[in-house]
């Protein structure tokens, strides 16, 4: 008997076909998903919590604050603005901490790799050299691995350094942006320190000026975006390869009936990469054969999925919202998890099946899961031990249902570097064609759709936002679970440009051969967007700072605190950021600060809009505003060059005037 489980009261409909199919099967009868729990809980979210006015920072409370009601301030006298600000700042600190802890592991893993203590190597030497340059490392006469160790150690020292000098990576930002940060005093000094200081300043009785608190929130978020996240992305690229366009598939249909299905869920790609290597080893394949399977099928879930998707073309079975559905197929031998965004429920869902949940990180354990610690110094050993367990489970697989028809093709792997290459080839790669076509209006602007999935709104919100944007000639860059969701919607196929994009964007996509939505990686990879935005500024013609660009970002289904940290580092970098809700409405002053005053200070700001179409239209409105400010909202006459104008082009720096022999 098919079960109808299309969402429930309190949460939106499930529109995702594969989720619906799986949940409609007998096999998944015993599975309780987040949708079911929302129904079962039977209560709606606390209003104080939702608006940010519940203060639990000391034991005099908890205090519920009502803005504008004199009696309803905190026991200590904290106003609504202070309380909301503290909550918002702590959310940012928690998000930044998560990225930072992830990044630290990657940097340490990188150092071990450079020392030769891992199965990985240094794949992108030119990026290593670029980073060595950023850190001012003398590379003369040193081996690639020696340089790698030095870069890694310099990167690691950024996390805990105690001097007041700004983080090294900040100098990759546009000059004007750096000057704004300097003037405001929000240049992060070290990564850990800014989180610590944020936690301190939000402690009872410390910083009670919301504007001042937000300065530290910016500094803390910037230490994430331009600090730990950026270092993580760059070093991960150097180690595992900078992504290039590659074909792959997404959705539950990527699970294979006749293979050992191992899903990797979480965030840090060190383990996933080791699993990818181990899954190709003859001894593992032999074991799988012996168990009656045709092979070992790795499939990603959440951001680990995005990491191996864009580097290796390993399919992504599910985003955050489908982590229970993927287990509900009954076809997964093991779900290997590390950190972040792993629902505790997965261990309960697994109980209905032969599936094992394997935790691998000492920081992230849960009841009813098996713990197999991933040992970096024996990455292959750890990976094989995990695979062996999964293979062992294959024979125990009972009834299962894989929605085989619902997998979708995608083209992914658009790093900042590969975008530059794709726009001009090996010899002429640059952002010039992007800028040119923004200036001439074929592309209206650029939008980032990032972040999580969330049960609060329909699971097709990303798709609706993206379609509205591309229909209006806005190029979309996507990361994280939002990108997976857009893949499921078919928007990461190059054909989608012809089907869904406005004529201008479609023409540019057609010229380059790209989809209208570019998958740029996992949520930690949002630093790629910062670099891409900076590259657009530096290419010229679109202003001098990120806040001048016709650019807007959204995490319309944000769930994790990391999304708020990302939002803040974009806003503090000059971008327009729009979420579907924020726990800030409990204070008019504070909400006004982040949605209005913030723009005067940083050029970037927050906005809130629940309806996906309206949200997209607000993004477009911001893009149009920037176009008008740049003066590119009007049609321009073609400039024809005569000799005089060519003379005025000026000299080429360092060019002598010479003949062939002078090299």
């Amino acid at each position: 008997m098919a079960v109808k489980r299309n969402g429930c009261e309190g949460c939106a409909d499930i529109t995702c076909v594969s989720s619906k199919q799986v949940l409609a099967q007998d096999v998944s009868k015993g599975v309780k998903t987040a949708y079911d729990r929302i129904k079962a809980r039977g209560t709606s979210a606390c209003l104080f919590g939702s608006t940010g006015t519940c203060c639990r920072h000391c034991n005099m409370g908890p205090c519920q604050i009502i803005d504008g009601v004199e009696e309803m301030i905190g026991v200590c006298g904290a106003t609504a603005a202070t309380v909301v600000a503290r909550g918002f700042c702590r959310t940012i600190a928690a998000g930044a901490a998560a990225h930072t802890d992830h990044a630290r592991e990657m940097v340490k893993g990188f150092i071990e790799t450079a020392k030769g203590n891992s199965p990985h190597g240094i794949k992108d030497v030119s990026k290593l050299m670029m980073l060595a340059g950023q850190f001012g490392i003398d590379t003369e006469g040193k081996s690639v691995n020696e340089i790698g160790v030095e870069v890694g150690e310099k990167a690691l020292s950024e996390f805990g350094k105690q001097d007041d000098a700004p983080l090294t990576m900040l100098k990759r930002a546009p000059k004007k942006r750096q000057a704004i940060w300097k003037k405001l005093g929000v240049e992060p000094r070290s990564v850990d320190r800014e989180v610590t200081e944020m936690m301190h300043r939000t402690h009872m009785g410390v910083d009670q000026d919301y504007r001042n608190l937000m300065l530290q929130a910016s500094r803390c978020s910037l230490s994430d975006g331009w600090g730990s996240s950026m270092l993580s992305t760059e070093l991960t690229d150097i180690m595992f390869g900078t992504p290039e366009p590659i074909r792959a598939q997404v959705d539950l249909g990527v699970l294979k009936k006749d293979q050992v299905n191992v899903t990797v869920h979480g965030h840090e790609p060190l383990l996933a990469e080791a699993l990818c290597l181990a899954a190709q080893e003859p001894d593992m394949l032999k074991l799988a054969k012996q168990a009656g399977a045709k092979g070992i099928n790795l499939a990603g879930v959440c951001c680990t999925g995005n990491e191996i998707l864009m580097r290796r073309g390993i399919p992504v079975a599910a985003g955050f919202i489908q982590q229970e559905m993927v287990l509900a197929t009954g076809a997964v031998e093991a779900m290997v998890v590390d950190v972040q965004c792993v629902m505790q429920s997965v261990a309960q869902v697994a109980k209905s099946f032969h599936t094992e949940i394997i935790t691998t990180n000492y920081r992230a354990k849960m009841p009813d899961a098996v713990h197999l610690q991933f040992e970096e110094h024996d990455a292959m050993g750890s990976a094989k031990a995990i695979l062996k367990r999964a293979i062992g489970n294959y024979k125990k697989r009972g009834k299962c249902f894989i929605p085989v028809d619902t997998k979708l093709d995608v083209v992914v792997g658009f790093s900042h570097e590969s975008i530059s290459y794709q726009l001009g080839g090996r010899f002429r790669g640059s952002y010039r064609p992007l800028n040119d076509n923004i200036i001439n209006g074929r592309i209206r602007g650029v939008a980032a759709i990032v972040g999580c999935d969330n049960y609060k709104l329909a699971d097709d919100v990303h798709e609706k936002v993206a379609k509205e944007l591309i229909k209006n000639d806005v190029l979309v860059l996507a990361t994280g679970c939002a990108a997976t969701s857009l893949g499921r919607a078919g928007l990461l196929r190059p054909e989608a440009a012809r089907e869904f994009a406005g004529p201008g964007l479609a023409e540019v996509c057609e010229t380059v051969g790209i989809p209208p939505v570019l998958h740029m990686g996992s949520c930690v990879d949002n630093s790629r967007l910062l670099i891409a935005a900076t590259a657009m500024v530096e290419e010229g013609g679109l202003g001098e700072d990120i806040c001048d660009l016709p650019l807007s970002g959204t995490a319309p289904l944000w769930m994790s605190e990391k999304a708020v940290a990302i939002g803040q580092y974009f806003a503090a970098s000059g971008a327009h950021v729009i979420f579907q809700n924020l726990p800030t409405t409990g204070s008019k002053d504070f909400h006004n600060y982040i949605t209005k005053e913030h723009e005067e200070v940083y050029g970037g700001l927050w906005e809130v809009e629940e309806d996906p179409i309206k949200l997209a239209q607000k993004m477009i409105a911001h893009i149009d505003k920037k176009r008008a400010e740049l003066g590119i909202d009007k049609k321009r006459e073609r400039v024809l060059f005569d000799m005089e104008m060519r003379r005025d082009l000026g000299g080429i720096p360092d060019a002598g005037c010479h003949g062939p022999a002078a090299e």
């Binding site: 080839g425 010899f427 051969g513 060059f641 003379r647 060019a655 002598g656 003949g659 062939p660």
Partner: protein
């Protein structure tokens, strides 16, 4: 749709690389890896490969690495669904195409040395010229540099019929563009169509038949690469620098006629790397978004009537064509056109009849602007073969006019009259020679058209100096004689004045950045006795140009104090050069080859080089292709003399400077000169002899060796010893 184009380009690139590699394998077997390969007389090896990769392909063996590079660049074919991005791969494939084609053509030169004429003009039996050698390249490159040629049209195939071919060629010529022609459509090539229509093809008319196969597209692109290296200071291997230089400065485009094959697409994709778009008459897809090119990348389905206009618009070129109301076409592209014996209608001057041209300034009240008169018979009044005397008297007036400017304006007559299609002008002053072709007469040419044209052009170019211009033409012997008498006294006066003008008499010298659009980092210093090294610009030109355009390319430099008259150090010059080079060149000498010699752009007429064994100096002009006693040909020496850096012992100079009293004073002047090519010595003979006489050594002229005496230092030294050349006993110059 770009997908179709990129797919075809990638397919074509694979075919071309396969074909070239097969050819290479054959050649390797036949000749072995040590066999030398080269394009004729060039120091830029295979120029695209050299400029993009910095690699010198000198032997067949050298090709191996380049083919590996091609294979790296060649992307997989584009799939029809779920395609990966294809623009960048197609551009890379286009680059691989050019590398492969250069090697293919190099092997062709090896296998069939007579395949191309290797000359400036077609021969009776062969229409196809092949790659420009460095002599042609430098001569023509200067026109790119000085702005008389804004770029080129690289034509693939041929228009529907010969009438259209001539029309399109003419239109392109009128836009001052070079027309490089490649391949054919249905067996008929555009140069064949042009020749069939009686149009002169060859470098002189800018209608250049490169080769009858698409692979010769590399001759056009290689030309652009060399412009960037020789004049733009772009280093070999600086691919991006070269590509952007050409995108911004060389206004070239591909014009394709007829069906577009995969191979043509591959070449077109390659050209886009340089910012050169393709304009096609065929119904092929378009690529309109901008970015790699300045504007559109591929524009198609353009009717022949509109194709030239469309092409220059797509390329973003503005050609300031001055409308001259005469029935013939007019422009620099016709300057090199000749009137051959069979085409000749009549001629004036040149020893056949008296001929003279002169420009004098008058009082404002004496000149009626626009007045053009003729006294005597006009062309319509005579029969073919009946020659006439000709006197051209141009009278100008203007508040800013100075008598010093007269010779500058007058010197324009030569090229301006040549600009008229169907007229050939040689010489100047009272040795002028005009040949008029039948075609021009058929179109209704009158002598008054020359007058109208001079009136219009002189106004255009010297509007800041002259306010009124009238032109009087005479074709009766006695009247011409009157002009001749006037002219001679004018010349005498002028020469006296110019002769007395020295570096000492003038306080102000001029800088020259006329070539800045192509040679952005070089500044010339022009003194009365040292003409710009391009030979085209003297001190008076600088002065007049400054008068015309005070913020233009010629700026006065207060020469300051002369601190060393032998080396020619001037405080003002040093300050200027130091500032202009941002400290890279703190001082220059005006008269020395060894001490702080002047830096050079790539467009010098000749090079001075020290010969240590002979203790003397040699000169070589860029037309001389042979070996010199320095052990290097002109093209290699050009590399030493340029570079924007000072290389003692090597320096770019104008031919004029060789006979200047200020010639290398620091090294002992003319007495130091031991060798120059015979063609240069002959050209300068009169002036050189005069200088030898002036320094009291009339016998010196015969002591200067040429290639007839030898092209090695040993041979020269033996000759110098035999003649007792003074350089041998002078103090060591090194």
């Amino acid at each position: 749709m770009s997908q179709i184009i990129c797919s075809a380009a990638i397919r074509g690139a694979h075919k071309i690389v396969d074909m070239a590699e097969e050819k290479y394998e054959e050649a390797l077997k036949k000749y072995g890896p040590e066999q030398e390969v080269a394009f004729p007389n060039t120091a830029y090896f295979l120029p695209i490969i050299y400029s993009m990769l910095g690699a010198k392909v000198e032997t067949i063996g050298d090709m191996k690495d380049i083919f590996q590079e091609c294979r790296k660049l060649l992307p997989p074919q584009v799939t029809s669904n779920l395609w990966l991005p294809y623009l960048a791969p197609a551009l890379d494939a286009g680059m691989a195409t050019f590398f492969a084609e250069e090697m293919y053509e190099a092997i062709r030169y090896l296998e069939h040395s007579e395949f191309y004429t290797k000359s400036e003009d077609p021969t009776d039996s062969n229409l196809w010229l092949g790659a420009a050698d460095d002599v042609i390249f430098r001569k023509r490159g200067v026109e790119f540099v000085d702005g008389s040629a804004p770029g080129f049209a690289a034509i693939m195939g041929s228009p529907a019929d010969k009438e259209m071919a001539s029309k399109i060629a003419l239109e392109l010529q009128e836009k001052n563009l070079y027309i490089f022609m490649h391949d054919h459509s249905n067996g008929i090539s555009m140069p064949e169509q042009l020749v069939d229509s009686g149009v002169q093809v060859g470098w002189g008319t800018r209608l250049v038949p490169f080769g009858k196969s698409y692979t010769t597209a590399v001759f056009a692109i290689g030309f652009a690469c060399r412009v960037a290296m020789a004049f733009g200071g772009i280093k070999p291997g600086d691919a991006l620098g070269n590509l952007l230089y050409n995108k911004d400065r060389t206004f070239a485009f591909v014009m394709a006629f007829g069906d577009v094959s995969d191979e043509w697409y591959a070449n077109a994709a390659g050209a886009i790397n340089w910012g050169f778009p393709t304009i096609s008459d065929a119904n092929i897809p378009e690529v309109l978004p901008t970015g790699v090119c300045t504007y559109e990348h591929v524009v198609s389905n353009i009717p022949h009537e509109e194709i030239v206009q469309k092409a220059i618009e797509v390329r973003g070129l503005k050609v300031n064509v001055s409308k001259i109301d005469i029935p013939m076409s007019f422009g620099p592209a016709f300057e090199g056109e000749r009137v051959r014996k069979d085409d000749l209608f009549m001629e004036c001057g040149g020893g056949r009849t008296p001929g003279v041209e002169v420009l004098v300034s008058k009082d404002m009240s004496e000149v009626e602007d626009g007045l053009v008169t003729i006294e005597g018979p006009d062309i319509k009044d005579i029969e073919q073969g009946q020659n006439l005397p000709l006197g051209i008297l141009v009278e100008v007036a203007g508040r800013e006019m100075q008598s010093d400017f007269e010779p500058i304006l007058e010197r324009q007559f030569h090229h301006l009259i040549n600009y008229i299609q169907g007229i050939m002008h040689m010489g100047q002053r009272n040795i002028m020679w005009v040949r008029i072709g039948k075609a021009a007469v058929e179109k209704g040419l009158s002598f008054t058209h020359i007058g109208k044209m001079l009136h219009g052009k002189l106004h255009q170019e010297f509007g800041a100096i002259v306010d009124k211009i009238q032109v009087k033409l005479y074709t009766e012997v006695d009247k011409v004689q009157e002009v001749m008498d006037l002219a001679k006294s004018t010349y005498d006066e002028r020469d006296k004045r110019l002769g007395s003008m020295t570096d000492e008499t003038e306080e102000v010298f001029y800088s020259c950045t006329l070539c800045q659009s192509f040679a952005p980092s070089h500044v010339c210093v022009i003194t009365p006795e040292r003409v710009g090294m391009c030979g085209a610009y003297n001190w008076l030109d600088g002065k007049a140009s400054y008068q015309i355009n005070p913020t233009g390319p010629n700026q006065p430099i207060d020469k300051g104090e002369c601190t060393d008259p032998d080396n020619g150090y001037f405080t003002g010059i040093n300050e200027f050069v130091n500032q202009a080079s941002r400290g890279a060149v703190p001082q220059v000498s005006c008269y020395s080859l060894m001490n702080d010699p002047m830096t050079a752009c790539g467009c010098f007429e000749a090079i001075a080089a020290m010969l240590p064994q002979a203790n003397g100096v040699m000169f070589v002009n860029r037309d001389y292709m042979g070996m010199t006693p320095s052990g290097m040909k002109f093209t290699s020496l050009a590399g030493m003399a340029g570079g924007g850096a000072q290389t003692p012992g090597f320096m770019g100079v104008s031919k004029h400077y060789i006979a200047s009293p200020k010639l290398l004073i620091a090294e002992g002047g003319l007495k130091r000169v031991v060798w120059m090519p015979k063609m240069l010595k002959d050209e300068l003979a009169e002036k050189l002899q005069q200088r030898c006489d002036e320094i009291g050594m009339p016998e010196l002229f015969d002591m200067i060796a040429t290639e007839e005496q030898g092209t090695t230092e040993e041979e020269i030294v033996a000759f110098l010893k035999e003649k007792g050349h003074p350089a041998l006993t002078m103090e060591s110059a090194v």
